[in-house]
């Protein structure tokens, strides 16, 4: 690797601080008692506890998956704390009651929960360790009948919606991590957009892991009823610690007839140090179901953090004429590993899916794209377009592509394009010859590479994502 690029690729993680708040944690380890305790702490109705226990019993019979192109020490599930909440968070009437220490923590992250200073046009739900500490713009949203709150609140205030949709896209038994999440999840975000309503602002959840040795298990459920539409953004950071922390979230999206859900993620969990010590294990199940006709679900992700990312945001295209999209930028640097991609399951007629994946590998990073496109027998005239590009920065990183294609209806049209390129000394020199610094050059080249994905991010966040990319690859992006 050229020294210019190398010097760019190393930059401190700016979100590595720890906030000193008193927490209410339970002991390490997992058992039915722990699950009962979590459920009772959250004052849940019986159906929730049953669902959790069902998931737990199922989880006990399951094995940790190892088909990913990932390498790590075994995880000791009995050594994790499954519930940790800032003590000051009791059910809140307003944001004024939020612990100022927490507000400060979020401010440091560049997220203002303070109503006066709220981001224009963005409603935020902030999750600190396992619980939601505050949701902004609630009243504004409720004028439209939109429910946007923490999962816990939704269980209390809208149990019928939760019971009806929970687990309908990612069942409690779906996979090892999803089952674990179903058993122990402590909070998350919930959103319901009623029939015919176009959500007038971006909704956003901000996840923060603070405590040591806790796992973070959130669950997000978003439902767009007939003719509704919503755009949602998720951001994540965690302190710098030298032990690995587990993050096993589940996100379920549901789009009914003519509805659309756009879900964007800017993931920047702590990635570990330059030697590969510490960092978040991000084992996440994200899936959307285009349940209705003409519905649309779109995933956009910018993955720059985590020591390990195992994540395949998927779409089940059940409704006729429904559309699924996946736009992804995954960056690995130092010793980060990412095995990410998507699944598009075509069930309905005339269903369409579009996949654009951009993998960037620097340092000793290892980046794998894993994508499945499945056309079921009833899916006449299904179409898929997949584009999968990798960029290498330096000589010690890796990029791999694992496409799985299964076609059971011969009217399907599938296109697949793939490329691998290298940021060249010559490209950087060309930019420098025009007066640009190496840093600026790399940032420009990488942003150019990711352009199609950034174009799909909501405006406010496209810039943020671009900067984040810059920080992650500093020495290689800006």
């Amino acid at each position: 690797m050229s020294s210019a690029i190398e010097s760019l690729v190393n930059k401190e993680y700016a979100y590595g601080f720890v906030t000193d708040v008193e927490t209410d944690s339970i002991g390490r380890g997992l058992s039915e008692d722990v699950i009962r305790l979590i459920s009772s702490k959250k004052n849940e109705p019986a159906f929730m506890l049953e669902w959790r226990l069902k998931a737990y019993r199922r989880w006990l019979t399951m094995k940790e998956p190892h088909w990913g192109n990932l390498h790590y020490e075994p995880i000791d599930y009995q050594n994790i704390i499954y519930y940790s909440a800032p003590k000051s968070v009791k059910p809140l009437q307003s944001l004024d009651e939020v612990d100022p220490e927490l507000l400060r923590a979020y401010e440091k992250l560049g997220i203002s929960l303070n109503e006066q200073k709220k981001l224009a046009g963005v409603a935020v739900d902030a999750i600190f360790d396992s619980v939601s500490v505050g949701t902004t713009m609630k009243e504004e949203l409720s004028k439209y009948g939109i429910v946007f709150c923490s999962f816990g609140e939704a269980v209390q205030n809208h149990p019928e919606l939760v019971e009806r949709y929970l687990g309908t896209v990612v069942p409690h038994s779906d996979n090892f991590y999803a089952a674990l999440n179903a058993a122990v999840f402590s909070d998350g975000s919930f959103c319901y957009v009623p029939k015919g309503v176009k959500c007038p602002m971006e909704l956003s959840t901000y996840f923060r892991i603070n405590s040591a040795d806790t796992g973070q298990f959130e669950r997000t459920l978003i439902i767009a009823d007939e003719g509704a539409s919503v755009s949602y953004l998720e951001g994540c950071t965690a302190p710098r610690r030298d032990t690995n922390q587990l993050h096993a979230a589940v996100v379920e999206l549901i789009a009914l007839d003519n509805a659309s859900v756009k879900y964007s993620t800017v993931q920047n969990w702590y990635a570990g140090d330059s030697e590969g010590k510490g960092g978040i294990f991000n084992f996440v199940t994200k899936r959307g179901k285009c349940a209705g006709v003409n519905s649309k679900i779109s995933w956009t992700q910018v993955e720059t953090g985590s020591a390990i990312t195992w994540k395949y945001p998927s779409v089940i295209l059940q409704g006729d004429n429904s559309t699924g999209e996946f736009y992804s930028v995954a960056v690995v640097n130092n010793h980060q590993q990412a095995d990410t991609g998507t699944k598009m399951i075509h069930i309905g007629k005339n269903t369409k899916s579009n996949i654009v994946s951009k993998g960037i590998s620097a340092g000793h990073g290892n980046n794998s794209y894993r994508g499945q496109v499945k056309i079921l027998p009833r899916a006449t005239n299904a179409r898929n377009y997949t584009q999968c590009d990798s960029m290498l920065i330096g000589n010690q990183c890796g990029a791999h592509t694992f496409p799985y294609i299964e076609v059971q209806n011969n009217t399907a049209t599938l296109e697949h394009e793939a490329s691998t390129s290298k940021i060249g000394e010559d490209q950087i020199f060309y930019c420098k010859q025009r007066g640009l610094s190496a840093e600026h050059a790399v940032s420009m080249i990488v942003s150019g590479f990711c352009r199609e994905v950034f174009q799909n991010l909501p405006m406010e966040f496209a810039v943020e994502a671009q900067q984040l990319l810059g920080i992650t690859l500093e020495g290689s992006v800006g």
Binding site: D426, Q433, L436, H440
Partner: protein
């Protein structure tokens, strides 16, 4: 303006430049000719500061300062421009954005205010005319999918925008049709001022019908083996290089 003395440069272990002496004054145009592989591009790249080349001996003064100590971007900011023999593609980055970034970076270095996208658009309207380039090219990715001639034209556009003090054109005329050749020549001539200079690397005398050089140099085996006035180019066209002592293969 530019004083090159006994310049030696290697790529890997191979010595390519083997003692170049060349002096260029403000207001002058110099043509560098010579057989394939003689080191013309190497000289151009070394002057621009390409990291793959190692200077082993000699000095280069630019306005009396040690050029070889400057980073490539500093050289650019100080007014050195290289039109690449093989312009580089940067997918996904628009020509307009690239050029505006470069322009502003150079302005910043000079302590001048940056131009916003709208002001820059006006400037582009004027400059694209000089090279007779369609404005639509500005929204395409830098050099990506450009034809050979379009790439060369794009180099000249960049030169016209950045207004260098010392421009080095490495075979910018190769692969151009006759009209494009005139466009390139017009670009160079339009830029000509008493305080700047141009080095034109070329294989063809015909470019020198449009860009009249003050001096013509023959580079062979890493040395300048002959220099003369513009008539030398005509003579080379007629007789080739073999008659020149030190140029034979």
């Amino acid at each position: 303006m530019l004083e090159i003395r006994n310049l030696h440069a290697n790529i890997g272990d191979k010595e390519i430049l083997r003692g170049i002496d060349l002096s260029v004054q403000a207001g002058e145009i110099h043509a560098v000719m010579g057989p394939n592989g003689s080191g013309k591009s190497t000289l151009a790249q070394v002057l621009a500061g390409h990291p793959a080349y190692e200077v082993t001996q000699g000095t280069v003064l630019y306005d009396g300062r040690n050029l070889l100590e400057m980073d490539p971007e500093v050289r650019a900011q100080e007014g050195i421009f290289l039109a690449f023999q093989y312009p580089i593609e940067i997918p996904g980055v628009t020509n307009a954005y690239f050029l505006r970034s470069a322009y502003n970076e150079i302005r910043k270095a000079k302590g001048m205010p940056e131009l916003d996208p709208l002001e820059f658009l006006d400037l582009m309207e004027e400059k694209t005319k000089i090279v007779e380039m369609d404005q639509a090219m500005m929204n395409r990715s830098v050099n990506t999918g450009f034809s050979g001639g379009e790439k060369k034209r794009n180099e000249i556009l960049q030169m016209a925008v950045l207004e260098p003090r010392l421009a080095i054109l490495d075979e910018t005329d190769s692969g151009l049709d006759i009209d494009a050749l005139k466009v390139v020549a017009n670009g160079v001539n339009a830029l000509r001022r008493p305080d700047n200079a141009t080095i034109v690397v070329t294989h063809y005398q015909r470019l020198l019908n449009y860009i009249i050089p003050d001096r013509v140099h023959v580079l062979a085996h890493g040395r300048i083996v002959k220099s003369g006035g513009k008539e030398l180019a005509l003579e080379l066209e007629e007789r080739g290089y073999d008659w020149i002592p030190g140029a034979a293969a």
